[in-house]
């Protein structure tokens, strides 16, 4: 079948599944209270004066000033002058850049030491669980959020695992305190899908489909055909009229949810692109260790990719004879490349440094942890670069961004300082 025309789907109300039942009122009240001090903070006008401001989108200014009002970036200007009425953050011997964006994590879904009973990454009881939603499992108090905040990550996409063909809905978060609803970003959710080994082993091993890549594709097409039919009918429907699984798939077909498809091997990458083309799915590919083998095809598709956590093309099963500059080769072919941590090694700068070590251009490496992932998850209008009108999410560094010894010394989210490195650290 041909591509499905995208249309907004009138009845889609993600908030209906956001917080349900009796504790909704409680959560709302808690959120209101938690939000209050930050309202005060973000109402302030703040000027960050830096040795260098790297906007990512429009080059660097040395020295430079970022003016912040109401949690948004008002202006980025050269020099050190600050207008009256602004609280000044003196970073005049520091480098300022946008907060980092990690477009593929599982933070909060499993706690760091894998405590039994606290592993909520993958509802692997059946190959399709599109209606599973990370907001129902995510622990906002997982200490890992603090850890990665200190490493500069301000926007995180939290996704379900990859054991299912369709694993469920992931959501983008601002990495700040105050509870889940204060973290959640009001944007399109991201439907996590997976091809290749993971769903095959999670289900095939239990003597049920999919056991092969043929089975995986056939099952996905069958379900998405149904969803596409639903969307073509186009009538607004009430929740509950069709099954929730199909409803979520239809939302992806209708463009109300993005997709993020786990695809490691070159053939899985091509299958993912084919699925996206056929059903008009919008979104990104994840991992893509063999993406360099089909870089031109990916570039032609204009689908962005999120590479990692391994960046050198090595994965169990089919290692290349030597490390490959996966992200660099994709970038050179014209693919928009982001770098992920996958909650694996939590330091995006470390990941970017390793990509540079393998051959990625430094400027590209910085885009790959800021603006490119913001675009990949549909948030480029809010985060990923220092531009007027965007959220004032920025980080202050005590050295060059791509030096291994550099530390993040301050993190601002929407104008509010959410992390300051202690002097003793």
């Amino acid at each position: 079948m041909g591509p499905v025309r995208k249309r907004r789907w009138a009845c889609r109300d993600w908030s209906a599944v956001r917080v349900s039942g009796s504790w909704r009122a409680f959560v709302l009240a808690a959120v209101t209270i938690a939000a209050m001090p930050s309202e005060d903070a973000s109402a302030q006008r703040v000027a960050v004066v830096a040795k260098t401001v790297n906007t990512i989108s429009h080059g660097s200014l040395s020295p430079g000033v970022v003016l912040i009002a109401d949690g948004k970036i008002e202006e980025v200007r050269a020099g050190t002058e600050t207008p009256p009425g602004y609280a000044v953050i003196d970073a005049s011997d520091r480098i300022v850049m946008p907060g980092l964006v990690d477009a593929h994590t599982h933070y909060g879904l499993r706690n760091v030491h894998l405590t039994p009973g606290r592993f909520d990454m993958a509802e692997s009881s059946q190959p399709f669980t599109p209606h599973a939603d990370v907001r129902d499992a995510l622990d906002p108090d997982d200490p890992v959020f603090d850890k990665v905040r200190g490493l500069g990550a301000t926007t995180l996409l939290v996704l379900p695992g990859s054991s299912n063909l369709v694993s469920g809905l992931g959501w983008a978060l601002k990495n700040r305190d105050g509870g889940l609803d204060r973290m959640l970003i009001d944007s399109r959710p991201v439907l996590k899908m997976a091809l290749g080994m993971n769903p095959k082993s999670a289900h095939g091993r239990r003597e049920r489909s999919p056991k092969t890549r043929m089975g995986s594709s056939a099952m996905l097409r069958a379900r998405f055909e149904e969803a596409a039919r639903l969307v073509r009918r186009g009538e607004p429907r009430q929740a509950g009229e069709v099954d929730r699984e199909l409803e979520v798939l239809a939302a992806a077909v209708a463009g109300e949810a993005l997709v993020h498809i786990h695809a490691v091997r070159a053939d899985d990458i091509l299958t993912a692109l084919r699925l996206m083309r056929t059903y008009g799915l919008e979104g990104s590919l994840g991992h893509v260790y063999e993406g360099y083998l089909v870089a031109d095809e990916i570039a032609r598709s204009e689908v962005p990719v999120v590479v990692g956590p391994k960046l050198d093309g090595w994965y169990r099963g089919r290692n290349p004879p030597r490390p490959v500059d996966v992200s660099g080769r994709l970038g050179k072919a014209g693919v928009e490349v982001s770098i992920m941590t996958d909650s694996y090694v939590p330091d995006l700068f470390l990941q970017a440094c390793f990509a540079v070590h393998l051959g990625l251009e430094e400027e590209e490496a910085l885009r790959a942890i800021t603006l490119n992932p913001a675009r990949a998850i549909g948030l480029a209008d809010r985060v990923g670069s220092l531009e007027p009108g965007k959220d004032a999410d920025l980080i202050v560094l005590d050295g060059e961004p791509l030096a291994l010894s550099t530390n993040v010394v301050r993190v601002l989210i929407e104008g509010e300082t959410v992390y300051e490195r202690a002097a003793t650290e």
Partner: protein, 412 residues
């Protein structure tokens, strides 16, 4: 005596078993000139610091001379890297490098019984494996290759060079350590043990029997009899004689304490590996002089028992006076095995630049007892040298040349 005893039966067997031959596409060391003179902008070696205009002359497999302004003899080939850095060959003080096979199953853990003290990593180490080549390319010239951590005792570990060699010329020390593992992993592997009580009980039983075995052998020798050899206890008896240390993979303070208690009871030396909670008892480890091999980058996945993991543990242990070395470790996505890059990550977590270099050169050589041969650039030491295109720990720097035993490794 015992190492000899061990070698007498195991080396010939091993040499025969190892040869499966390099196949097409695999690298062999090409023919070499009589020596190499390597010149670079800077040389670093523990004790000497950063030396401008550093030069190294390699001859007969060893370092013949070090210093600025060396004369180039006629028969040596000169390599000149103007802005380059010369380092001693890197040493990874604990790994399963070379035991992973090449796509046909892993050879890391014989996890059919909890104690396999009769095994030797040497028998599985495959010098032509991709991970060995990868380690070599990233500047690692020597690895301590040990069995994995599934068994309480996995077997002996071998200290071995990473050159693509067929015979035993790469072996620095065999057996180098007895690999032990405590805590969660052995509990989950075999039918027994199922608890930490079971772990210590089984180890104690084995160590007691090894002690008895040693006594009986000594008795037999005194009586002029030919003692019976039991492979199950040979390496452990050598451990009890103090000829090699136990390398104990343990994470929590509980498991570290169990290892120390057993070492007190039976009198053997311990080197800890992983030891993600070691910094919590740094003072005690310093007092006992128990060294720790740390994974600098610890993946957040795939491992229980890392509640207290902190990238600052290396700096904290050093501050307390504990000897450390670094390894790559599991859960590390840098599959290419780049130890230098991994060590560099600790710079932002409190480790000084020179200490980060020591932790992958001279310190592992010292704690594995081979500081007379490896880990520094000194005349008479093994010709293991790495040449970088730029400063160590700069992500843009690449490994340009690797020399092992004075031979330049295939350019890759």
């Amino acid at each position: 005596m015992s190492v000899q005893r061990l070698s007498s039966w195991c080396i010939p067997v091993l040499a025969g078993m190892l040869w499966s031959g390099p196949s097409a596409g695999q690298e062999l060391v090409p023919d070499q000139p009589a020596g190499w003179l390597v010149r670079a902008g800077t040389l670093w070696s523990d004790g000497d610091g950063f030396v401008a205009g550093g030069e190294v002359l390699l001859r007969d497999g060893t370092i013949a001379a070090v210093g600025p302004d060396l004369e180039a003899p006629d028969d040596v080939e000169v390599i000149d890297v103007t802005d380059g850095f010369i380092l001693p060959g890197l040493i990874e003080a604990h790994s399963q490098t070379g035991l992973h096979g090449d796509g046909v199953g892993w050879d890391t853990d014989e996890d059919t019984r909890p104690i396999t003290a009769d095994l030797h990593a040497r028998d599985a180490f495959y010098a032509f494996a991709a991970d060995v080549a990868s380690a070599r390319r990233s500047g690692i010239t020597t690895v301590l290759a040990t069995p994995g951590g599934k068994n309480l005792i996995g077997g002996s570990g071998v200290l071995i060079k990473t050159a693509p060699a067929v015979g035993d010329e790469n072996v620095v020390r065999q057996p180098a350590v007895l690999k032990m593992s405590l805590g969660d992993e052995p509990k989950r592997t075999n039918a027994a043990p199922r608890t930490r009580m079971g772990e210590v009980a089984l180890l104690r039983e084995h160590l007691s029997r090894a002690r008895k075995y040693e006594e009986e052998r000594n008795q037999a020798e005194q009586n002029g009899e030919r003692p019976a050899v039991d492979a199950d206890f040979e390496t452990t008896a050598a451990l009890l004689r103090g000829e090699l240390p136990a390398l104990v993979q343990a994470y929590t303070t509980k498991d570290i304490a169990n290892a120390l208690r057993l070492s007190d009871e039976f009198g053997f030396d311990v080197i800890l590996a992983y030891a993600t909670q070691a910094h919590l008892i740094a003072g005690e480890l310093a007092r006992r002089d128990v060294p720790v091999v740390l994974a600098s980058i610890k993946g957040l996945w795939y491992r229980y028992e890392k509640e207290s993991f902190s990238e600052r543990n290396a700096a904290q242990l050093l501050d307390a006076g504990v000897r450390i070395a670094l390894q790559l470790g599991e859960g590390n996505p840098y599959g290419g095995g780049d130890l230098l890059f991994n060590a560099g990550y600790l710079l932002k977590h409190g480790l000084a630049r020179e200490d980060a270099l020591r932790a992958i050169t001279s310190w592992p050589a010292e704690l594995l007892g081979v500081a007379d041969r490896l880990g520094r650039l000194r005349p008479g030491m093994d010709g293991d040298v790495v040449v970088l295109s730029g400063p160590p720990f700069d992500p843009r720097s690449q490994v340009l040349h690797v020399f092992i035993n004075g031979q330049r490794m295939p350019s890759e």
